[in-house]
Symmetry: C2
Subunit: 380 residues, 2 copies
Amino acid sequence: MRKKYLLTPGPTPLPPEVCQAMSRPIIHHRTPQFQAILKEATEGLKYVLQTKNDVFILASSGTGAMEASVVNLLSFGDSAICVEAGKFGERWTEICRAYGINCEVIKVEWGKAVDPQEIRSRIKDAQSKIKAVFVTHCETSTGVVTDLEAIGKIVKDSEAVLVVDAISGLGAIPLLTDQWSCDVVVSGSQKGLMLPPGLGFISVSPKALKLVESASLPRYYFDLRKAKKALDKTDTPFTPAITLIIALNEALAMIKEDGLENVFLRHKKMAEATRKAVLALGLELFVPDAASNAVTAVKVPAGIDGEKLVKIMRDTYGVTIAGGQSELKGKVFRIAHMGYIEEFDIILCISCLEKVLNQLGFKFSLGAGIRVAEEEFLKK
Amino acid sequence: MRKKYLLTPGPTPLPPEVCQAMSRPIIHHRTPQFQAILKEATEGLKYVLQTKNDVFILASSGTGAMEASVVNLLSFGDSAICVEAGKFGERWTEICRAYGINCEVIKVEWGKAVDPQEIRSRIKDAQSKIKAVFVTHCETSTGVVTDLEAIGKIVKDSEAVLVVDAISGLGAIPLLTDQWSCDVVVSGSQKGLMLPPGLGFISVSPKALKLVESASLPRYYFDLRKAKKALDKTDTPFTPAITLIIALNEALAMIKEDGLENVFLRHKKMAEATRKAVLALGLELFVPDAASNAVTAVKVPAGIDGEKLVKIMRDTYGVTIAGGQSELKGKVFRIAHMGYIEEFDIILCISCLEKVLNQLGFKFSLGAGIRVAEEEFLKK
């Protein structure tokens, strides 16, 4: 008997309500019964995204929704700014380049957030040729959060649209789509929204919708012109991932019941407890400033094999956290606290971390992490 | 209390084993645990597809897998033959045209199957310029089955690859991918495979893999070069639809337990009983020859409102069948017998059809359909 615990930045644990919803008999999607479900899901996503913009639900992972934003906004040879502050920022550049977009790449040291002023000067330098600015809200590979509010103010005054990858931030950290002028926000199901992977979301502002009409990149499955026509009739252009959308409504109902502000506060508390706990163990945070409340990256201490640490936690003790990706492989481990995660998940994760660090010969005071986490959780 | 019955050509009813699998706690995809699941799923799909080719699992609906085949095989300006014998054949043309492919369209009267010789002569006329031939195995909108074996023999001897939309046929009617030289076969989860929608499948022959390397159409999410690299490490390039893949293994296990030949025989029996039953009611089949054993299209008799018939069956009696699509709207209704459907599903569906036809004033001998269906089911 070994219970399993999941503290990875996607997928995240599923609430029993979500699991149960997926086990119901399936219904047909071209029926008034499913239309009501789709309407509720769309409205719920608008609440979480804090937007009045159109929101489309795609049968794809988050990367599919990222691609949908590129192919629907741009034409071959267009120029765009891609902010690369980690693996998922790089994905913007990769997608854009695959479609012949001229990318102005802003490279940011991993673990740091982009300086919004850098975006301002790049837009200025390009003399209004920039059609879109692609950024990552919470960079899952590093645990950095981007200052969307500041970037939104800058992009708003240009010809460009602001496109945000909010895949791992949505439902975990505040994202005021309309207030911050985020023209296009893409997200996925398997993070803060507490669902399995398989759904992509994309919200589109009126400014961006104009580009959808004029963009000439080829597209079919991700064509938002088709999706818009269907949405206006509470329909989808192709067969939707019915089961996941039904489950989405369960998750959205839970988020609404808590209230978005309380959901964000919970994430903040989990993140703070995690950060303080690892510091108390003598470990170092990978992100000193601009740390996201969705996921915490921790430096693997000298003399410890980071991949082995993650493997023992998972395969021996049933606690799955994430290792580092790409250039951070073996250098950091990441504890996610997004979605269906509450204080005792953090407690058990820190406890398991202490256990394995101890077994690997790392020197620290056993229980030190748990103690400061408990202190944090005692605060109002 | 009103029980619900689903006899639509996608989604199809889910076996309880599949429902239960989806309600399990989720696991992370970058783990040896999920790798084992992915390997089993890929092998199982090869069994159902009767192929040794690589099979890729996509987080998308079947249309996404169709698009994947187009963008991975072709380059801008390439020529391809698209066989249009219904709504889903038209989709091939639409996708190809969205990507700047020069389409040689073979239009076939709805309700009829394409003559393989027509494909032969078109390939010949085009003087080896045809790169791909796109066909539909079971045309869901009409209920026609295509003679893939004959077409495969023709295309095999040309430069072109044969690309088959087997979305609604796979797991319902025989498809010998390798023996019939089907270079690329695309399918989806919500039909014969007894799963919810959200997974796309694509098998690729060595002949087609060469095109994947040389094709220059832009792609990222559906890029099979990335998928191939990942598959060789039992991985996926992007987050897979974990829950659906776990459920896929349950469905594949059921198919293996029955044996593919028995699964096809069951579908044949269901189809024959359905066809004989509706004929016994004095109705007319939409497809006199080349009728698929996956779905049966029936002409709406004069004086009856076809859409009303479908609506009453569904909303009053809980039995969901499908109406006609596009040009067949109101002119046919379709009873699916694919996937998790057995004789008493057909019996109750025919019974409900009799009930509603009677109520709508259609003249026939009550019970006549059920009687011939029962006779059919008594046969060995």
